[in-house]
């Protein structure tokens, strides 16, 4: 059990709802993941849309909703989208995504910070999706964010934590902020690593939705985040440059001692 913005959560896995083979698989994956927080977006209702179906599914899933501003490329667009999301989903939580490049889907630090300041003024709890630049993260905190979500790697790339040092630095320098690795998580080992570094949670979507068996993969991520958090709390051994025997050397039979002495 941990606290996030006054909410008590069990899971440290936030799960996206897109790209699943079917609504049923989505529901089963959400359940298997044990997640408390799922991300959603806003779109026009399409003719062949399952929009209403999805609304009903959200009710049934009964999880904390974190709407995103996916696709926005300016502060203005992101603010409008966030306002619409607040009314529609009845939450002042918003995953703030302001894209600066259509090919890499990288966050735009400048528009992101601008939008962040305005939305916090308007009473939102902003979860900014940002890069791993400490200075940007610090500015977001200065703007009033209580949660920061640096990327591990580009969205949908599945490459894991490409700059572990940068992520570690952010954790060290922002000890009181809730930190979530968002984007780039491709495997449970990546999620475990983020938690081992002291991150509070991970947010992912593609790695589960595009797995051969999304439900099993959701469960894998559930276990991996639990493992990573347990390890962080348990206090991990330090990495060492050289080898250190795990089996004791005291009491070795003499042939070992002779060998050692000879070296």
């Amino acid at each position: 059990m941990w606290q996030l913005l006054g909410e008590s959560l069990n899971s440290r896995l936030f799960l996206g709802t897109a790209q699943y083979p079917s609504p049923q698989v989505l529901s089963d994956a959400v359940t298997a993941s044990g997640t408390d927080v799922i991300t959603v977006s806003l779109r026009r209702q399409m003719q062949s849309s399952t929009g209403n179906g999805f609304w009903q599914q959200l009710k049934t899933l009964n999880k904390k909703i974190l709407p995103n501003t996916a696709g926005c490329t300016s502060a203005k667009e992101a603010i409008t989208t966030a306002q619409m999301a607040r009314e529609l989903f009845g939450t002042h939580w918003i995953k703030l995504e302001v894209i600066g490049d259509q090919h890499t889907l990288q966050p735009d630090p400048f528009e992101l910070l601008t939008a962040c300041r305005e939305l916090i003024q308007q009473g939102f709890e902003v979860f900014p999706y940002c890069n791993d630049d400490l200075i940007l993260c610090q500015r977001l905190v200065d703007a009033g964010c209580k949660v920061i979500m640096p990327w591990g790697a580009p969205i949908g790339s599945g490459r894991g934590l490409v700059n572990e040092r940068a992520l570690t630095l952010i954790r060290q320098r922002l000890p009181d902020i809730n930190l979530v690795v968002d984007a780039g998580i491709g495997a449970p080992s990546h999620a475990a690593r983020a938690l081992e570094l002291g991150y509070d949670a991970v947010l992912l979507n593609t790695a589960v939705a595009n797995a051969g068996d999304p439900v099993a993969m959701a469960q894998a991520f559930k276990l991996a985040t639990q493992a990573g958090r347990l390890a962080f709390m348990a206090g991990q051994m330090a990495q060492r440059e050289m080898a250190v025997a795990s089996t004791p050397v005291i009491g070795q039979p003499f042939w070992h001692q002779a060998t050692v002495a000879a070296k």
């Binding site: 709802t17 959603v40 209702q45 849309s49 529609l88």
Partner: protein, 67 residues
């Protein structure tokens, strides 16, 4: 008749009116939605005061899967 854009498609309505009236008359309205007019969010309580005139762009958005 005036022309407006609804979710990107041109539609014709007889005359300028407020958003509330427009929505009541609009056929495709989903159950749960939020609205922006000309890229500005319009809160539900302001629908009666929100004028819709020629060239306005109305976005009616619904919940969708997202990451």
């Amino acid at each position: 008749m005036i022309t407006i854009l609804v979710n990107g498609k041109p539609e014709q309505i007889p005359a300028p009116e407020n958003l509330q009236n427009f929505l009541q008359a609009w056929s495709g309205l989903p159950e749960h939605y939020a609205i922006a007019v000309n890229q500005q969010f319009v809160a539900k309580e302001n629908y009666p005061q929100q004028a819709i005139t020629a060239g306005d762009a109305i976005e009616i958005l619904v919940a969708m899967q997202g990451g």
